[in-house]
């Protein structure tokens, strides 16, 4: 039944002349790999480069404070994570990854919330809450300069395939896929924006348009809304899968949190 449906849909897609995700050929990869930073105006780059002017540091400072504040029912993150035991420097470069205990794919936000629930006896933070953004930015910042390197074998393989599928599937009233903009047309002008290769290496990032720090999933929601597609929820399986696909696609680029973007 499943195979039949899949076959039928593959046939229909071809017959209708639409782009079909071809999972056999290697995925498209922009060459040379370039961070979104390279496509920014000089003044936006300067804002990211200056740790005193970069507004992302407001969140990082709050994150650092939260990190060493004991919760009512448990201990502070900093009690378990020190330079000597469970150090977090470089850790963010390997996310998303499979959580050994649950077998689920988790991103950095998910990992932090697992420490909240498993090790601190606290409720998980809401996605895009100031607390979760601040802690995520702080932990990612501890990996600033570390090249991305993620595992897509084993249980992660299905997630990677799903992320690739989402990336290559057309959607929305404008019927466009991520790959059409970020693999096929990067470097070109979409009005005032230069389309970048669509890497997540600056996130959580401060966007001038948001006047705030925001997660990668918030950026993905904006891209989906841009083609008039219904965005997926924050932390949804689809976006986690895309996040893994993006990380593999960006492998070798360095984490640059807190990025500043238009």
């Amino acid at each position: 039944m499943k195979a039949g449906l899949a076959l039928l849909s593959a046939f229909c897609l071809t017959a209708c002349g639409d782009v079909v995700a071809d999972t056999k050929s290697p995925p498209a990869q922009p060459q040379p790999l370039q961070s979104g930073y390279e496509f920014l105006q000089p003044q936006t780059q300067a804002l990211q480069d200056d740790d005193f002017a970069n507004p992302g540091f407001l969140w990082i400072d709050r994150g650092e404070a939260l990190f060493s504040t004991a919760t009512a029912s448990g201990s502070a993150c900093s009690e378990c994570h020190t330079d000597a035991s469970l150090p977090l420097a470089g850790a963010a470069a390997h996310y998303p990854k499979i959580d050994a205990e649950s077998g689920d794919l988790i991103n950095l936000e998910g990992r932090i919330n697992l420490c909240r629930t498993r090790h601190q006896n606290e409720a998980a933070f809401e996605y895009e809450s100031d607390e979760l953004l601040s802690l995520t930015a702080y932990v990612a910042y501890l990996s600033r300069g570390t090249p991305i390197s993620v595992d897509i074998e084993g249980a992660a393989a299905d997630w990677y395939a799903r992320g690739r599928d989402y990336f290559e599937t057309r959607r929305g009233q404008f019927n466009l896929s991520c790959t059409q903009c970020h693999d096929d047309n990067w470097g070109k002008k979409l009005r005032g924006d230069t389309i970048s290769q669509g890497h997540g290496t600056g996130f959580p990032a401060y966007r001038l348009e948001w006047q705030s720090l925001g997660s990668l999933h918030r950026r993905l929601r904006d891209c989906d809304a841009g083609v008039r597609a219904e965005p997926r929820p924050y932390g949804s399986d689809d976006y986690l899968a895309v996040e893994l696909y993006l990380a593999k696609r960006a492998e070798g680029l360095e984490i640059e949190t807190p990025g500043v973007r238009r």
């Binding site: 849909s9 229909c12 404008f174 019927n175 965005p231 899968a241």
Partner: protein
């Protein structure tokens, strides 16, 4: 929390006839690479078309296309410049390219502005509606058709 099967495209529902007309907002006759008759028989207006070309709330074609002499800053270059397009293409060809260019160039980045069928994950606010109305498309056809590279 397990990856599901890749989402099946709604192309299934559209009937997959391969005929462009079945996925457009209203019945349209396509001849070669043209839609010769105005959509719904409407008369286009070039001045309104120019506004539709530039305005974000309407066609916002300047996102991807530049027209020399048009009063709009930061015109895009993802698509070809449309300066003088009226000398290159007939009105019928322009009409088809705005209404549903994707069968012509399957990999194109250009949206199909009169298409409603066979789409995937459309936001509810836009579901079942074409991106532009027949009138807006006729206005755009009138505007682009008179860009013959001489008058501007």
């Amino acid at each position: 929390m397990r990856p599901a099967l890749p989402v099946l495209t709604i192309a299934l529902l559209a009937g997959c006839s391969g005929e462009t007309t079945s996925r457009l907002a209203t019945a349209v006759e396509i001849t070669g690479d043209e839609i010769t008759a105005p959509l719904l028989g409407l008369q286009g207006d070039a001045a309104r078309g120019e506004a539709a070309f530039a305005e974000r709330e309407q066609g916002h074609c300047v996102l991807c296309h530049a027209v020399e002499g048009l009063d709009a800053e930061f015109q895009g270059n993802v698509g070809p410049a449309l300066t003088g397009v009226g000398a290159r293409l007939s009105e019928g060809q322009i009409r088809l390219r705005i209404a549903d260019i994707q069968p012509l160039w399957p990999d194109t980045l250009m949206p199909s502005y009169y298409r409603t069928g066979g789409l995937n994950q459309v936001a509810p606010a836009y579901a079942g509606e074409p991106a532009l109305s027949a009138q807006q498309i006729e206005d755009l056809v009138a505007y682009l058709g008179q860009l013959d590279g001489e008058s501007t």
